[in-house]
């Protein structure tokens, strides 16, 4: 502690900028970790909060995936001896048309019994405020709003609002307002209640319910009730606590969480390298100080603990600021993650509040401090090993000895070999990830050697550009590789990440575009919702004939898609007219043959699965898969595996008749419409819209519009890459500023001599700028190389663990090219202040020694 006060504190005060830069490394790492996780948690919290609030006193919920089930199931559930109260529920997300208010979650319930489960907590005391409960039930336009929504939009009892329904925009009458508590806080307050039977009509549900909420009769346990209901209803139904929905949501968004985890960990690793770099530099700079301390009797252990103490303090301060910055980041991105979740997974929820989990914050703080201490461990050891005699031999310590270089190269070669072995035997997940970590370790070990070699290679080029400044800049890097290696490693790691993510998104784009071109070739798509992923509004199947009769239409294919639970995981069922589909799309299976696929699937004798489902669930061609449905269990063989990007957890393609047989559901989510030769897209689109004007809510998307929509969602998904590029640039700037600041301090005498013998300010500046650009170039070259390897591993992770999709390896050349000016520009910007500092440095002070 005394050493920290007497030795470290004055050093920090003297090098405020460098201290700030060092701390910034951990701030960035912790901020990205906290920001990403908190934003993600906030979305999950928002979803769980909505589920929890809506659940009220519900102890169990009966569902059949997203598909819903017939009304008769209610009587079965109500007749179970262990059930006290069972009420049906429908949920629908509708567009309010009110600017800035987004969607409204409409909860359709049976108000005659639902109050046993949910406390509506109405304004002005109980149900008198549903102006008249009988009128509420008798009039299908009745709706109850939350106070937040009503006040924000100026609604009162008996005022009207328009909502989008399958019957077109309909005016609803506000018959009650809920107080600001409990249920009304669900979905960020954008919640409305209406009668379930009116909701069935308004949202095209026919005679089905989404789920049944129930409470358990006294004297029975929840587990007993769960078992009894599961036995009564069969495997096609899920009987779970409300929290189970949250777990399913988490399972569904696992891919996104995985991406966030990878980004967070790499951000921390990058932060670690900034710290490592800073402390390495500090150790080299303070060698004389360490030598004096050692000469005065300080033990090696004391010196080591001095540096580790400094790193711990840096870690604590950096982590604290990182937490704050992370919360700011989380607030900024939570809403967009919520939108992304809705667009990608079709599950609407809101994240209006930041859910700060003390465990996440504590973990981030701990990780920040540990990262800082771990990063400083090697420099601390080096400091402890300083020989007091050698301490005054300036410059020598920054050279990599031939022995050390050989050791590094040797260890790296061994690691690469082991990594290759891991890759060959990568059937095991652990072995694969160990191999990946070994590759990263090898890259970090080889980084300084490669940087040194590259600097030597670049020297002639630099000398050719600017004979004096170029030579000086190159020599500075060659003579002090330790000073540069940390920065180069940090830039290399960040660029490796950028390249990998860019490559992954590029490969995904290509694959998605291929899939869209093959599978999504209708001229028009008719949907009941503006967001085609929102499946809470549905059409009746009769609309198919109506659309087919519209002039210009040659073929209509109804599509019913819904998530079901398969082997405990939510996967997507796509049910359509396979016979018709086989005549319109060109989809070659990746496993199996096309003829068998179309024939068997169309006849309802087989199922076609997506390649990601096959990979994630280990399904092979010919395997019989069992899909429990409300009206029996489908047991059919897999007749083909196709590329399909409809859902991250996988897709099962089946004929519509099979779906109707096992789900008793003939509703439609989307109509695929093909035009007759000669008919034009705008004309037919206009006719469809005109046909349903005022009668139904119909959105007609052209082929191009739908593809743009999908690509827009894909863009949102990969928007994470832009955050990573920003972090990479920031890391590069921080690292280079740090390195140059030290470089200038180290070379004060050299620069002073240069100025004394007539060196111009422009030459000094030029030297620093070129040095910075060279560091940037070294990081860039190594980063692109490391990125190329990293991309391979990331694609494998996507294939194995994230989405089961096999993406082609395509190096992101455009991104790599864009990174060249970006990183060199960042390096140049980073050099501006240090160059000015070098130019304006006192000549007297610089030559004091002489």
């Amino acid at each position: 502690m005394i050493l920290l006060k007497l030795i470290s504190w004055p050093y920090f005060r003297k090098h405020v900028l460098r201290t700030l830069l060092t701390t910034a490394g951990i701030v960035i790492g912790v901020a990205v970790f906290v920001g990403m996780h908190t934003a993600n948690q906030s979305v999950l919290f928002g979803f769980n909060h909505t589920v929890d609030r809506i659940a009220g006193k519900t102890q169990l919920q009966v569902t059949a995936g997203e598909t819903g089930f017939n009304e008769e199931v209610l009587e079965t559930v109500q007749s179970a001896p262990s059930v006290a109260v069972a009420v049906p529920v429908i949920e629908a997300v509708v567009d309010t048309g009110i600017k800035g208010r987004g969607s409204l979650l409409v909860l359709g319930t049976d108000m005659t019994g639902d109050r046993s489960l949910r406390d509506y907590d109405l304004e002005e005391g109980d149900e008198a405020v549903i102006d008249d409960p009988l009128v509420f039930l008798a009039q299908p336009d009745s709706i109850i709003l939350t106070r937040e929504f009503a006040e924000a939009n100026g609604f009162g009892v008996n005022s009207t609002l328009a909502l989008g329904t399958v019957l077109g925009p309909r005016q609803f009458t506000v018959r009650g307002i809920m107080k600001s508590s409990g249920l009304s806080t669900a979905f960020g307050g954008n919640l409305a209640i209406m009668d379930i039977y009116a909701a069935q009509r308004m949202f095209g549900r026919g005679r089905t319910f989404d789920r049944i909420d129930l409470s358990v009769r006294d004297g029975h346990s929840v587990a007993e009730a769960q078992q009894e209901l599961q036995r009564l209803l069969g495997p096609g139904f899920q009987v779970d606590s409300p929290a189970g929905r949250g777990r399913q949501f988490e399972a569904m968004t696992a891919a996104y969480s995985m991406m966030i985890n990878i980004s967070s960990v790499l951000a921390l690793v990058i932060g670690m390298f900034i710290i490592y770099n800073s402390f390495s530099i500090a150790v080299t700079q303070r060698r004389s100080e360490i030598g004096i301390l050692r000469a005065l009797g300080a033990s090696r252990s004391q010196i080591r603990w001095l540096f580790l103490g400094e790193s711990a303090v840096t870690g604590i301060i950096g982590s604290a600021f990182g937490l704050l910055a992370g919360l700011v980041i989380a607030r900024a991105i939570a809403a967009s993650i919520g939108t992304l979740m809705r667009d990608v997974y079709g599950v609407a929820q809101r994240a209006d509040e930041i859910a700060t989990d003390p465990r996440t914050l504590g973990l981030a703080m701990l990780i920040g401090v540990i990262t800082s201490v771990v990063a400083a461990w090697i420099p601390a050891r080096q400091a402890a090993a300083v020989d007091p005699v050698q301490a005054l031999q300036k410059g020598k310590y920054q050279v990599l000895s031939a022995g050390e270089s050989r050791l590094r190269a040797g260890v790296a070669a061994v690691l690469v070999l082991v990594a290759l072995v891991c890759l060959v035997g990568s059937g095991s997940r652990i072995v694969f990830y160990v191999g990946f970590l070994l590759v990263i370790a090898a890259a970090l070990l080889l980084g300084p050697l490669l940087a040194l070699g590259l600097a030597r290679l670049l020297r002639p080029l630099l000398r050719a550009i600017r004979p004096v400044e170029g030579s000086l800049a190159a020599d500075s890097l060659i003579q002090a590789p330790r000073r540069t290696s940390g920065s180069v490693a940090a830039v290399m790691l960040s660029l490796g990440l950028v390249v990998a993510f860019a490559g992954m998104s590029g490969a995904s784009y290509n694959s998605i575009i291929d899939w869209m071109d093959g599978a999504l070739n209708p001229d028009l798509f008719v949907s009941p919702s503006q967001d085609v992923v929102i499946r809470t509004l549905r059409f009746p199947q009769e609309m198919g004939q109506e659309i087919a009769a519209i002039p210009g239409v040659s073929r209509v294919q109804p599509v019913r898609n819904a998530r079901i639970v398969y082997r405990g995981t939510p996967v997507m069922i796509v049910a359509t007219d396979i016979q018709s589909l086989s005549q319109t799309v060109q989809r070659k299976p990746v496993v199996g043959d096309a003829e068998t696929m179309w024939r068997e699937t169309a006849a309802g004798r087989g199922l076609t699965v997506s390649d990601n489902l096959a990979e994630l669930q280990k399904i092979r061609l010919g395997d019989t898969i069992e899909i429990p449905a409300p009206h029996g269990t489908i047991r059919l063989p897999v007749v083909a595996v196709v590329v399909d990007y409809s859902d991250q957890q996988g897709t099962i393609l089946m004929d519509r008749t099979l779906f109707q047989q096992y789900w008793h559901d003939d509703s439609v989510n989307l109509f695929r419409v093909y035009l007759q030769p000669g008919a034009t897209v705008p004309d037919v689109k206009a006719r469809i819209l005109e046909h349903y004007a005022g009668e139904r809510q119909v959105f007609v998307l052209t082929n191009r519009e739908l593809k743009e929509y999908i690509l827009r969602v894909t863009d949102q998904w990969f928007s994470l890459s832009s955050v990573q590029i920003a972090v990479a640039v920031l890391v590069a700037i921080l690292g280079i500023v740090n390195t140059l600041t030290v470089s200038i301090t180290d070379r004060r005498r050299e620069l002073g001599v240069l100025k004394a013998v007539g060196g111009l300010h422009a030459q000094i500046r030029g030297t620093i700028w070129l040095e910075a650009l060279t560091i940037g170039a070294l990081g860039l070259i190594l980063g692109l190389g490391f990125g190329a390897v990293n991309l391979y591993y990331i694609l494998e992770i996507v294939h194995r663990d994230i989405a089961g999709m096999r993406l082609d390896y395509v190096f992101p050349v455009r991104v790599a090219l864009a990174l060249v000016p970006t990183m060199l520009g960042a390096a140049f910007i980073a050099a501006l202040w240090p160059a000015e500092s070098a130019v304006r440095g006192s000549l007297v002070e610089a030559l004091e020694y002489e």
């Binding site: 209610l74 009587e75 109500q78 059930v83 006290a84 109260v85 069972a86 009420v87 049976d110 005659t112 019994g113 109050r115 046993s116 005391g125 109980d126 149900e127 008198a128 549903i130 008249d132 409960p133 009988l134 009128v135 039930l137 008798a138 009039q139 299908p140 039977y197 009116a198 069935q200 009509r201």
Partner: protein, 271 residues
Amino acid sequence: MSRRRMDRTRRTRSQGFRGLLVAAVLALVCGAAATVLKAADNARQIMEESQKRSTAQSQRYEGLLQVFDAKGKVSDKRWTLERLGSFGDSKMVLRFTAPAEVKAVALLVVNHPDRASDQWMWTPAIERDRRIALQDRSTRFFGTDFSFEDLEERDVNQYEYTLVGDDTVDGAATWKIQSVPKQAKSSQYSRSLIWVRKDNYALARIENYAKDQLVRRLAYSDIQNVQGIWTAKVLEMTDVRRNSRTKLTLDKLQYNLPLKEDAFTLQALRR
């Protein structure tokens, strides 16, 4: 006297004392039980007589339902009610006639002697009928102070009765009887107190308790003889906890009309 003998004597005395005590207690218990049994028998007989006197094969009336909330706000609804069958085994259709927003909303209640009634509601605006589940019967009947359960008929056999004593209601002498639902009957009320007029066996008042807390009070007034059946033309239900009341006034009351069975089905409800 030897110790053994003394012990035997003490044991004999003790056994004799105990025997007396048991006999006394038995006598007391049996006497009390006999009294309770007699009172219970009387109570059941009174209730059976009351039910017998009010029994009709069918019934029809036009009702005016007035809900007075705690703030004094009054809302009116009108309905027509038709009932077919006797107590505990009857069917009832209730159709709202006013106000316009609820016109044609209908309710079908099918009472069973051995279990709770089945109830369906028809809402014409969405052309849907809905079953009102057994567990929801404690829910208030469309914002009135009646619950769905209160609409059911109280068949004598569905309850255990005890005569509590005599009382006077609106100047008329009454029997005060306690009713407790039998196990088979699911009720929101743990017990009820029923006042039956001695002069005509018409019900004068019912107080419903849940866990010994008075929750609802139903007062019968304007009791008239309609076609030989003493009937209250005004029923007023007070929800004690909510401090609100609902008044039902019966008009155009008729008994023993020729009503058809098929008028009391879900299909008929939808017409």
